[in-house]
Symmetry: C4
Subunit: 258 residues, 4 copies
Amino acid sequence: MEKVKIKEATVVYFEKPKLKSPILIEGLPGVGNVGKLATEHLIDEIKAKKFAEIYSNDFPPQVFVNQDGTVKLVRNELYYGKKGKTGKDIIILTGDFQGMSPRGQYTLADAVLDIAEEFNVKMIYTLGGYGIGTEIEKPRVIGAATHVELVEELKKHGVVFKGEEGGGIIGASGLLLGMGMLRNIRGVCLMGETSGYIVDPKSAREVIKTLTKILGIKISFARLDEKAEEVKRITDRIKSFEKTLMEREDKEDLRYIG
Amino acid sequence: MEKVKIKEATVVYFEKPKLKSPILIEGLPGVGNVGKLATEHLIDEIKAKKFAEIYSNDFPPQVFVNQDGTVKLVRNELYYGKKGKTGKDIIILTGDFQGMSPRGQYTLADAVLDIAEEFNVKMIYTLGGYGIGTEIEKPRVIGAATHVELVEELKKHGVVFKGEEGGGIIGASGLLLGMGMLRNIRGVCLMGETSGYIVDPKSAREVIKTLTKILGIKISFARLDEKAEEVKRITDRIKSFEKTLMEREDKEDLRYIG
Amino acid sequence: MEKVKIKEATVVYFEKPKLKSPILIEGLPGVGNVGKLATEHLIDEIKAKKFAEIYSNDFPPQVFVNQDGTVKLVRNELYYGKKGKTGKDIIILTGDFQGMSPRGQYTLADAVLDIAEEFNVKMIYTLGGYGIGTEIEKPRVIGAATHVELVEELKKHGVVFKGEEGGGIIGASGLLLGMGMLRNIRGVCLMGETSGYIVDPKSAREVIKTLTKILGIKISFARLDEKAEEVKRITDRIKSFEKTLMEREDKEDLRYIG
Amino acid sequence: MEKVKIKEATVVYFEKPKLKSPILIEGLPGVGNVGKLATEHLIDEIKAKKFAEIYSNDFPPQVFVNQDGTVKLVRNELYYGKKGKTGKDIIILTGDFQGMSPRGQYTLADAVLDIAEEFNVKMIYTLGGYGIGTEIEKPRVIGAATHVELVEELKKHGVVFKGEEGGGIIGASGLLLGMGMLRNIRGVCLMGETSGYIVDPKSAREVIKTLTKILGIKISFARLDEKAEEVKRITDRIKSFEKTLMEREDKEDLRYIG
């Protein structure tokens, strides 16, 4: 490994895979952690292989401690994977953090787009959560795209478009599309509806289901379903606990009065 | 379009118009959004044409989603337009945001002044709001300028000068004048009085009316009048609602006591 | 005037005066505005002449509006003045703001030290306020210095040294000494005791009195005395008003009870 | 001394000692000040000699005033010391502050690693506190390391590993390990358990005791024991005072009722 200094965006390659005009899929931490959960699931399912890491002095200055006591510097990671029905290879971007400052966000997005161009990426899919502030039974997938014809294609796959002016997509999921346009790279953002209060594998499931349908990739969703079950168990337990508390308070109030 | 990286100020040209010593008019988001409303109105009225965009890693890292589902990276925009009676062409600067940090503000102002010099701009008009913290029936236009003789000219057009030491003009409207002076560019700032609590098309109307009078340009103010009417309708409705609420509370208080 | 871009420290010269190994005196805005009041008084009294301005993208992005309606970009200013008894010329640094970020502060101090070295400055006096959190009748002048022998000299002039470890001098007054040491420039900091709650010309008077005594310069303190009187009138009026308010409340309380 | 400008990391050497593949030990201000106390104690005990200072425009812009009235610019310091049983020389990094921004933290860590490489450092020990939010009688030493075999070695010396995923080490103690890995430098972090509310010499004692045992260095802990005693005296006095206060309040309550 060559020696590395951490600038605003420092890319370290383990391998330079030969890829045939791949698509780029991004899912970094954000609302409900939807994008990160979705890409991590995809990486596991298609057994994508890590080929590069991105470090940044705009990430928090820290290491994580692994279960075995070893440390890892916080980072973003790039994986590549097998072709889907579309006949295209896949590059996947995920990681521990997004840049903390606007400047870092822009610089990191430019670095990712440099990599995208090096691999001749012509299409980017960015994945994220769409916070609605309330619990949701059946999260829909909200879309945005760089070109009107992409909007039409997405609608055929059930992606919802709000049709309102003025919404915004903050962070890497927005920047990769907006800045990609300046480099003639097309892109789509898929956002799973989510309360915004909890990590939301159910929303991630809908996002990755939509994406793999578009790409013609067949994967299992079992592990995301398990995670969603686990989150449900925890939230149910909390709700039941809260209910008990409230009932007890009610009874105590009665006793106090009676 | 050439490939673009987003630095603190990245200018992308669509066209390099031939302009005859144009004036530069700036109106970016700020107090009451007065400057932005004023320049947007002028752009519409004189059918000014966009010739460049300015991106910055000091803008919020986000895209806006348009009504048709497509995205646009947040930016500033440069338009050029037809001559006024003064015989001068016009460049207009407007946009989604101002720089978020002092450093970004200075760098963006320097970039705009570089463009101004490239087009041989000798005079800058910056437009903004002057917050007074209270509703105002007939907003006046407050002025400031780079040279005393410009102050005298503006007074003839009804522009008000406070005659007090120590006021400040924050952001692009101030910097373009102050930094323009260091490049021998003259400039004037026109600020419409506004409460500072709402978007204020009425104030923008006074500002653009004064500016077009100075420049000898004839435009309609109908659309700004409509917007002002709409804002009035909304604020009236809110006031009426608040009044009803208060009266109801009064009655309930009486009932409670009586 | 040559064309100027505003970097973290951009120096614009009007004149390059020939000075004989001058001393540098700094007084920028800070606690009680003591340093700025002191240097401004000195500039007036010795009729020092402005020869350069320093701009910075770490200053607030704004202009001030003068009484005549013209604007000035916020900045620091350098003056030079007549010899004192010490046979040395004087450079004085004052201005509207200090750098807002640590990085800006360091860069500006380095720029000032570059200028100091260009003029062969061997000694720096930095002036400031020493906040004690309570009103003070007879403010003392607290000192700090780059070398022990300077401490001894200052003690002879009545400057007080706390003799405690761990105090700090924040901003330009501290950095010019600490960073000057790394360039073999000697320096002294004179801090006038002040409550820290008001602009304090009385404290500034003590500081500039001590400095001019050290330098063997004779100046009048009349204008600072006037300013101190004015501040006293204002604070007395506020106190009297507060007293009246409290007495009225006392009476009303009595009436209420009785 | 050569002339110095303060960049994000500016290293000033007093001496370039000849060291035989030294180890680097870091202890900067942090939780409970454990790391700084530990390294300062080691420097005193092995009579390590200062050979360099690191300045940064990401440190607070200030000087400290020493007891004798002289000032020192805030900084980090590098010392070198005598061999331990391991046959290795020692470089010790301590100082007044850590970088205040993420970017400064990364840049400073890179500068330290540059120095480490220049001296052919192959192993880094970083020292810090592990905040547990509650008072602790017998603080344990928690560990983390760059390689699994180092984890195993540390366990033999009684260092505790949490065995949980997701913990983080923030600041220089984490970055020097994580970034050192990218340069093929091995490293270990030793963190003394501490409440996190007070400066904790007792915790520092456990850390430096573990470190010197690993390194085969024999030192006295008397001075840290004294400091720990002093901290205990102060906290005991506070607790006793609080107890008295509470008892008095109890009595007064009784009197009030009775």
